[in-house]
């Protein structure tokens, strides 16, 4: 166990895979200088410029090139800088990476990882703040991960790099400096598809991920003071997602609140809510509720940005609303 930041954990995960497997390489803009968030610091010095590759500003070629390189058996780890810029490479990710194995009848695999820093951070406004996980969950062929802790970023990034499937790895920009214990021993990784129980509680299950986890934890403290006890699950993996763990918890609490930073309308929370409301119909004490961002682009001004944020008080209030729910 070592105490590391989310950033350092990700850096080490990649370093360890680069060291372990010569087929692994990484590419993106400015990563030789450490990447925008320092998450590549020192890797080029350690592994050389042919395995830690500074690219032109060519998102389509970065992603499309990674597809070709993956088809030939290498394992590229692609950096998109901000998830928003991945929108310059959607054909390459969705029409090519996600579908190649299937269209070609299983003749080849596309073992690539695309890292997309997501979320609200530092008032970066509408083109640098998006969380589009629900898009990727909707696309057959893709695995979608969204770690919330240093340990999970370490363990899931390693698992992603070792996976033979194309993986969309969503790291939250606000979490880079967050600290936590990380088991660095040997080949430890986090299994994809398994949720993490953040906190045990009686009254309301809160399902969340990424930047939502800290907010849910804060909300739990607030809710506790009102006598409401939250059972928090961090999905970590959005596709596949841990249906079993969610249903178990909701079967116990009878109430579910899904919390995410992405826009609520057609967000991934809708999938979870629809699934649970169906599977536990008749066994619920209150409707399944969702809490996500309003359907607005993220505004810049510090006075306006809060409109796009989910907050602990709002989560606590929504949970309390479920406990006191009467039709």
């Amino acid at each position: 166990m070592s105490r590391l930041t989310y950033r350092e954990a990700a850096r080490l995960a990649l370093a360890h895979e680069l060291a372990a497997d010569p087929a692994v390489w990484t590419l993106g803009e400015d990563i030789g200088r450490g990447g925008v968030f320092g998450q590549y610091q020192g890797l080029q010095a350690e592994f050389g410029p042919t395995r830690v590759v500074d690219t032109p500003i060519s998102e389509a070629a970065i992603m499309g090139g990674a597809v070709g390189a993956a088809l030939l058996g290498t394992r590229p780890v692609v950096e998109m800088r901000f998830s928003d810029f991945a929108l310059c490479a959607v054909d390459e990710l969705v029409n090519q990476a996600a579908k190649a194995r299937y269209m070609f009848g299983g003749q080849a695999r596309v073992p690539l990882v695309v890292r997309q820093p997501v979320g609200l951070w530092s008032n970066s406004a509408a083109q640098h703040s998006q969380s589009l996980e629900s898009w990727y969950v909707h696309i057959p062929g893709l695995v979608v991960l969204a770690p919330a802790t240093p340990a999970d970023n370490y363990g899931l990034l390693r698992a992603a790099i070792r996976s033979d499937d194309p993986v969309v790895h969503l790291e939250h920009k606000d979490l880079w400096p967050a600290e936590g214990e990380v088991p660095l021993d040997g080949d430890w990784e986090v299994p994809i598809g398994v949720a993490r129980r953040v906190r045990e509680g009686r009254d309301v299950t809160v399902v969340t991920w990424s930047g939502g986890v800290r907010i849910a934890e804060e909300a739990a403290t607030l809710a506790e003071t009102q006598g409401v006890s939250l059972d928090i699950l961090d999905l970590r993996s959005l596709w596949p997602w841990d249906r079993g763990a969610v249903l178990d918890s909701v079967a116990r609490t009878g109430r579910l609140l899904v919390v995410h930073e992405a826009v609520e309308v057609a967000g991934f929370g809708a999938e979870i809510a629809a699934t649970v409301a169906d599977a536990l119909f008749g066994a619920l004490k209150a409707p399944v509720r969702r809490l996500g961002a309003p359907r607005i682009p993220v505004p810049y001004s510090p006075a306006l940005e809060p409109a796009s944020r989910i907050t602990a008080p709002a989560v606590a209030a929504a949970a309390a609303g479920l406990v006191s729910w009467r039709s």
Binding site: S58, A66, F104, G105
Partner: protein, 334 residues
């Protein structure tokens, strides 16, 4: 793909070698003619795009590649696939959506691929194969192999952004990739020249630091000689090369397109004077190959491919369960 014993020479073509390439051209033409009929008869579904009239490029480039070289193709990919050495029976099965197709029936004509011979896939998205080929070349360079990647694309594709990004990338990293622009003058129903500015594909490639060779793409020996030189240069580590091959598509954009947007006189002139197969036959005749020998080649392809199509049409459909396999390992559908 048999490798040539000696490099080809356009000025003094070798009859035996050329006859081999001629056979490949016939295989492509016959394959597509049969595929077209099968499509019209409802035995092949989806869209099919025929490369009839453009066979010399695929045949000659393919003949200069090793089996472990790789290529990416376009929506018009049958010729590239055949020239790279794929089994026409497996290809017909793919087009007919049958078990045993190169992609198990999941891809069809537009996604035909045969990784066993290095054919990394046709593509339904114009220009999408360019970065993929460059990425494959990047992997080859990383691994220090002496294979090369070849990237086929049309003139229309040179107006899409990935063309610039891929070529710049290949040149900036000096990757082992040969770009082959099959310039048939049209992108679907639109004359490419009417929506393209500047001096054309070659000038664009040069502006991105890639040496360009222009060739009459319907002159088999000329394409062969050019391809030989470029493949050699790429394999020797000189970085990317660009072959701009002028050609003409004799059929519509898809097998269902009557191509009435083209001037009848233009089409007639091309059909009459610029058929790469007839031009190669004339060259071969000049080199002393008898009409009989040419006829034998053609007959052989006709018989073999007709049999292959018949076998394909007799082949079982894939099991519905296979629709759910090969999506992904983790989080696969039930």
């Amino acid at each position: 793909m048999a490798l040539p014993s000696s490099p080809p020479d356009a000025a003094a073509p070798d009859a035996e070698r050329l006859l081999g390439l001629y056979a490949t051209m016939q295989r492509i033409r016959v394959f597509e003619t049969l595929a077209d009929e099968a499509h019209k008869a409802g035995q092949v579904a989806g869209y099919i795009h025929l490369s009839i009239g453009q066979e010399a490029i695929a045949a000659a480039v393919g003949a200069n590649l090793r089996e472990d070289d790789v290529l990416t193709s376009t929506h018009r990919g049958h010729g590239h696939t055949i020239a790279k050495g794929a089994d026409p029976l497996a290809m017909f099965r793919e087009l007919c959506g049958r078990a045993g197709g190169t992609c198990g029936g999941k891809g069809g004509s537009m996604h035909i691929a045969d990784f066993s011979v290095g054919m990394l896939g046709a593509n339904g998205v114009v220009a999408a194969g360019l970065p993929i080929a460059v990425g494959a070349a990047h992997a080859i360079a990383l691994k220090g192999e002496d294979r090369i990647a070849v990237c086929f694309f049309g003139d229309g594709a040179t107006n899409r952004g990935p063309f610039l990004e891929a070529l710049n990338w290949a040149a900036a990293f000096r990757l082992p990739v040969l770009f082959v622009c099959e310039d048939n003058g049209y992108g679907a129903t639109t004359r490419t020249g009417s929506v393209s500015a500047g001096g054309g594909p070659g000038v664009r490639a040069e502006s991105l630091g890639i040496p360009v060779t222009v060739v009459d793409g319907n002159d088999l020996a000329a394409v062969d000689a050019a391809a030989a030189a470029l493949v050699r240069a790429v394999r020797e580590g000189g970085g990317p090369q660009f072959l701009h091959a002028r050609t003409y598509r004799f059929r519509g954009h898809t097998s269902s397109d009557p191509a009435t947007y083209r001037d009848a006189a233009e089409v007639q002139a091309q059909l009459a004077g610029n058929d790469p197969i007839r031009r190669a036959a004339a060259t071969l005749a000049g080199l002393g190959v008898t009409p009989d020998a040419l006829e034998r080649v053609e007959r052989h392809e006709r018989e073999a491919l007709a049999a292959a199509l018949a076998t394909a049409l007799d082949s079982p459909w894939p099991d519905l369960g296979t629709a759910f396999t090969d999506v992904q390992d983790i989080g696969a559908p039930q």
